[in-house]
């Protein structure tokens, strides 16, 4: 299931990485911050939506990096280079992430920055849309359910595919096999 998810998500323009342990994934995230030169300067912030991946220990570790924001305002998100949120599942057939984005911080960090880094528990990938619908409880739908497939795109000028119109230019998906905890 993961292989199909990865292939389809990449076809849609996402970058997909997989790690067995949370520790490896954490290192990937820290490296990414470094590579992307996250800093306190406007335009270079990293904004976090609260999530299980960001547990106390990891939060302390990343807090040492300048430019981290754990309480997210629209201004910070707008001035951020990277936004990080954890998603609730994915659909392999179409390479799509699913997120209950009712919490405003999840939306701000996944919409406004240049890069959206999505943390995904590999075990939550289901086959396709009908499979996701079958397991979703329609009577208790989150107020803002989001499906995300690749980065923001347009083809409105001469049908030329252009990435990053109003949303992130890059969608980086960090799959973790042994994430622990609930999303």
């Amino acid at each position: 299931m993961y292989d199909q998810f990865k292939a389809r998500a990449e076809r849609a323009g996402a970058e997909v990485h997989r790690f067995t342990s949370k520790a490896e994934a954490e290192s990937f995230v820290v490296d990414l911050f470094e590579k992307e030169q996250v800093s306190d300067q406007a335009g270079h912030l990293a904004v976090w939506a609260d999530c299980p991946f960001l547990d106390a220990a990891f939060k302390e570790r990343v807090s040492a990096i300048p430019g981290m924001r754990f309480t997210v305002s629209r201004e910070d998100a707008n001035a951020a280079w990277i936004g990080i949120s954890q998603v609730d599942g994915a659909m392999a057939e179409i390479g799509t992430l699913v997120q209950d984005a009712t919490a405003i911080d999840k939306r701000l960090v996944s919409m406004l920055p240049e890069i959206h880094l999505a943390i995904l528990d590999t075990n939550t990938i289901v086959a396709d849309m009908p499979a996701w619908i079958a397991q979703a409880d329609a009577s208790k739908l989150g107020a803002y359910m989001a499906m995300i497939t690749g980065p923001s795109r347009t083809a409105d000028i001469e049908r030329v595919l252009t990435i990053g119109v109003h949303g992130p230019r890059r969608l980086i998906i960090c799959c973790v096999d042994k994430l622990g905890g609930e999303a």
Binding site: R107, A138, Y144, M145, A146, T149, D156, R159, V165, G167
Partner: protein, 712 residues
Amino acid sequence: MEKQFRESIGTALDDAKLSAALGKFSVDYKANRAKIYEDTDFEALRSQIAACKSFAAAHMEELAAQFTKNAEARGAKVYRANSPESVREYILKVAKDNQVKTIVKSKSMATEEVHLNPFLEKEGIEVAETDLGEWIIQLAGQRPSHMVMPAIHLTRDDVADIFSKEVEERLTSDIPRLVKLARERLRPKFMRAEMGISGGNIAVAETGTVVLITNEGNARLTTTLPKVHVAVVGLEKLVANFADIAPILKALPRSATAQLLTSYVTMVTGPTPTDDGGMKDLHIVLMDNQRSAMAHDPMFKEALQCIRCASCLNVCPIFRLVGGHVFGKVYTGAIGTILTAWYEGLKESEEIQGLCIMCGACKDVCPGKIDIPSLIMEVRRRVVKNQGLPLLQKSIYQVVNNRKLFHGMLRAASVAGKPFSKDGFIRHLPMFLSDLTEGRSLPAIAAKPLRDIFKKIEQPRGLQQKVVFYAGCLIDFAYPEMGEALVKTFNKAGIEVLFPENQTCCGAPARYSGAYEVAAQNGKDNIEALLSVEADYVISACPTCTVALNEEFIATFKSLGHTAYLPQAEELAAKVMDFSTLVKKLVDEGRLTLKEGQTLGKVTYHDSCHLKRSLRADQPPRELLEKSGYEISEMFECDVCCGMGGSYSVKLPEMSAPILQRKLKNIKDTGAPVVAMDCPGCVMQIRGGMDKDGSGVKVRHTAELIAEQLKD
């Protein structure tokens, strides 16, 4: 047709940039669409969508009530708006209540439909379209030409010009930079807007959810950043159950943009927290504007199955020539013609409905399984019913309804037309199809019609099985040799061919002009004639006639409420078969043998619209040709209309001509010396074109080619 409209067609046809953009798109779209649906059972998928959407249309009021109850239970305010005016007034009131100065909008055809922007702007509110295409259109002061790609008619240079004016700086036509500029310009508007307005692609009654499907991410920002969100949703967007979103989310992106899924799908169920610690003020406007009236119309309720993918525009040979600013109003193209007739009034679709050539390409790809051509025909019928036919057409059809007079005139034309015909080529249409406008020379009509020749054909005696041959006007009066070939073929198979003399025009020309009463009379006359003799089959070698006999008599009677003739029409329909299908059957049964071991060289095959998309009989002629020793060399766009469309080529020659030219090129590109087809109408169009072209490619009816290859 009004002069102004006629001129707009001419201008669009002359617009090289427009035809280049739309032409390339139509080619790319078909390839991309085919690829994205590769592993999908499209028929099953669209049946699923048609089932859930037709259920929703039949239960519109219940679902609207259920949606309202569930959305309100989650905290949304739902407003039912019956008219465009009430949509505008409600939104203005919400804006005023919230001291709104700036509104950001994500793409919404519903708000285009009610002309919301100019109304709000007049009230002093800044309205910014944020979908890139819509923003371009807004800055240019135009209307969308395509419901999915609003700015498809503009080039990068046009966009650079439009943006340059906006930013008062000369921009180059570098697309990524233009897109970046849009992001930078619109982001501050998102940040400060007090209200966001969106449409809705699906409204789920079970949960009170509005589903939004976008690629750019602007709908996410529109529904997240401003304090107030108003979603304007047409009643046709309702579905009963949450699970119903699956087939729509599967088909819509595939059909609209050849994507597995758009970048974003957003499902809003009730208000959400805002970033100032409060809660969103969520308003959902359920817009009627004739949708409930459509739901009560026995024919047009089907149009409510539309999911607004625009694939009917993308495959349309007419749309790709003139685009949506000519072919449509707010909604454009094929479905746009139907929606315009309802949302803006029948009068508004009077001219655009005439642009449809009835090739049926849209019907094949519609994920809502809507019989779009039939609905456009019904629009046409109602237009004619309200306004009557042009006087000249009326007098022609009076003649068509009097067989003896009609056939007498055709015989007269044969004599009168002689000086104008050359080498047996038809340069003009038989007059019964034409408007007989001044300056048009008379058509070439065969010296002897088939009905006269037929009497002299000596058929073998004592043949047990019999078929009735329905010739149709073109074979009867213009191409009797096709009829002779057909008789020869069936005789070889041991079948006697009968030709009831009272058969007359199949009524298609009248029907396609909206003259249903004339078509109905043709239907009654033919039913009487064709059922007057005992036979196993009624055979036609003209697919348009075949479809008239086996579907359209019934449809015409139903439209007019002439139910008394239905049983006979159905009896006839059950016996009708096209030439190639029956001949293929006879060959398979061993009753007819083709010469063996021949190498006849290359032939390319043109799919006639009715044979391919109504009768679904595109394979039998190919198999027959191959079996007789031809090598089929498929042409590009083999199943795209040749531009004949019955009287279309006379009414709109300027549209018909470029379609024909494209067809001729595709034929010649195969290098085949012969092009085969099963429709005498297509033969007339393509043979005439090839004659003028001088390329020497032979244009033949399959019946003629097969008759030459029968084993003795």
